[in-house]
Symmetry: C2
Subunit: 409 residues, 2 copies
């Protein structure tokens, strides 16, 4: 079960002026589930995004990048679950383009104004006919208050839907930010099998919007890992419709810029953490915080070595303060000149290790107490600089293996 | 159960002239099991080794390196299981030194002529008194035909003991090579929680012996991964007693050098593969072979990305040819200019992927047939050069989680 994560309440998800959402049961992989989503956005909106770094990026990722680069203004996003259209070669590209063309015809816009997204099993042909047959139903139920349905329609092995809304006031005008995301396995930085869509009714120039989504991703989705695998399909999109009455944000010095950046990052962070809390088989949510490094890069390197270690993750699953495994992971992280004598390690408020070994004050029952919690912070102090980094992960359980050994069937 | 791995037969393990082995039940962690081993070697032997790259290297690793560097000639190795004496700070170093001093006193040699090794749980104080109390029993049963007992005495979560012997003829003289190893979890290159001891009665100069063990490790123990964790304690030691009648090997051009290098590498490779076959919870032995790369480094990088992917490993556990996961791992391995269109991937003899997607000739039942096997080769052809690399790994099962969630208790 997800770790301290409640499904979103319909009433908490605020419509974003200029955004309509419609879902359908298209039978992409299985019947009787919402598996297709269309997000329609008003003309003059700006859209920016960040995508997977995987060299085997999926066909929809290639097409979405092309269409964004075409600069014709995006009018719709089409997202299917059940099939990733990845590792599908030329036919896969053709299917992604055909998806956009069909949606564009229904919405009376150009093919290059539609962005396609897919998630699900890889290396299987996209069932294009079924997807296209589902589009009219999506179009028929386009509604502004449909975020909850939308969050459900993009789930794969997710147990709970992920969605969050925030409102801020910029120069007296209310600005809304609502986001949805999916993902629970294969989660690693650079956004593995993770899809996220955040929309705001603020007006933001395209250049700034790109900067905003990149920064938000770096502070959120690029700080999580479930199993270290990076997917072929990840994308985080940020949509700004400009339908609020707040003044347009065109410079980093614009009124409201910092505020909007902060709230977009907050929404992205909550969605990213929700993905970890719903990590496949997760029973614990673990924050790995590395401080006192000589660079952010080395702090991240160490944090990821700890967060990715199957031995660390199984020890957390067992609630066993087998904390030497954390020290071992710090040691093999690849920071060549690390002086392990200077490192201090805390489990929440409990000092576990210093001077290259177990702290004299450490008592097993204190470690045991923290390990029983469902939210735990591992704090590593390197004492060699002022940089820090934080990574979120979950433990590794029987259910992880079960889910991933049976995902296709 | 181990994958296609039989325990060694006592009669197959050949004594090495100049080497005696003695074991004892020292109650390091649990009663009623052999957990202490002394390997006594004749004067004038040469000894060389390679050790873990982990920055948190264990106390015995630090002391063993010191004693090798002292150059006084090694007379004994003391190996305990049940406790790794790692993450134990100054008291751990003192315990490792005391172990050597006690053994040296019994063998009438210097402390710096003894090498200590430990494996087991980390961050727990080494029970030095029990270890020392066990040494006389080891000394009392020192025998040349004790390799089988020795292999058993160094096991931790290993299910079967790992030992192998080979004989070659150099200029008409018989030369024996016998090796033992332990390790089954936390296995990754740079020899994670892996201990290996190979002895030969050939005479080899120290400089050449170091080169020989480094090359052997690179081709064997540094090509395996079970869970990607690198331990604090790993060591592979090579002992040459010079008691055979073959001429001494002092140059790479010496008669028998290439032959001995080959057989030492063969023994090391069989031991390393045995570790993977006995990988924690393993049900399949997987060879990942990457060919046609522009450098060995990039081939290894890709091979390890595939071999370490929890998603790939759980798919193999399920015998599910969910082969897109392999493509995804190739894609995120970090080779920036990889042209995925050119890659071909085989599962044994079955062409699975080409032109960026599933091969036209691929049939699910062919993939399914190979996945049912217990030994499987993934072959990735990059078509961008002549370099290649091979990595051995195993699948990821329920039992991996079970073993590692309960290892300490």
């Amino acid at each position: 079960m997800p770790v301290n994560l409640q499904p979103p309440a319909v009433r908490d998800l605020l419509p974003v002026k200029g955004v309509l959402l419609g879902t359908a049961e298209a039978n992409i992989k299985k019947p009787n589930r919402k598996d297709l989503l269309v997000i329609q956005i008003d003309p003059m909106s700006t859209v920016a995004g960040v995508f997977t770094q995987n060299r085997f990026c999926a066909a929809p990722v290639i097409v979405a990048r092309e269409h964004l680069a075409a600069g014709k203004g995006i009018r719709a996003l089409v997202i299917n679950t059940g099939n990733a259209n990845a590792g599908t070669g030329e036919p896969g590209l053709a299917a992604a383009r055909a998806t956009c063309a069909e949606a564009a015809a229904m919405l009376d816009c150009e093919e290059a104004q539609v962005l396609p997204f897919s998630t699900g099993v890889i290396m299987e042909p996209l069932p294009l006919a079924r997807l296209v047959a589902g589009l009219p139903a999506c179009m028929a139920n386009l509604r502004a208050d449909n975020w909850h349905d939308a969050a459900q329609a993009i789930m794969t092995t997710d147990i709970v839907a992920k969605a969050v809304s925030r409102q801020i006031s910029i120069e007296g005008a209310t600005v809304t930010v609502t986001g949805i995301a999916k993902g629970s396995g294969m989660i690693h930085p650079n956004m593995a099998t993770m899809l996220g869509y955040i929309a705001t009714d603020a007006a933001v120039s395209h250049h700034l919007l790109q900067q905003m989504v990149t920064q938000a991703a770096d502070a959120s989705f690029n700080c999580i890992t479930v199993d270290g695998d990076t997917s072929t399909n990840d994308a985080l999109m940020l949509i700004a419709t400009g339908k609020s009455s707040a003044p347009a944000i065109t410079e980093t010095t614009s009124e409201g810029y910092a505020q909007l950046q902060a709230v977009v990052t907050e929404v992205a962070t909550l969605l990213a953490q929700a993905i970890v809390r719903d990590g496949e088989g997760a029973t614990k949510f673990i924050t790995v915080q590395v401080e006192g490094g000589s660079s952010v890069a080395e702090c991240k390197q160490i944090a990821y070595a700890v967060a990715r270690s199957p031995l660390v993750k199984t020890a957390f699953f067992a609630s066993d303060p087998n904390l030497g495994r954390i020290l071992a992971a710090i040691g093999y992280a690849g920071v060549a000149d690390l002086d392990v004598q200077r490192i201090r390690m805390y489990l929440d408020d409990v000092l576990v290790a210093e001077h290259g070994g177990r702290a004299a004050s450490y008592r097993e029952e204190d470690g045991q107490r923290v390990m029983q919690q469902s939210d735990i912070t591992i704090r590593v102090m390197l004492e060699r600089g002022a940089a820090s980094a934080k990574v979120w992960t979950c433990d590794f359980s029987y259910d992880y293996v079960k889910i991933n050994a049976s995902y296709r069937s």
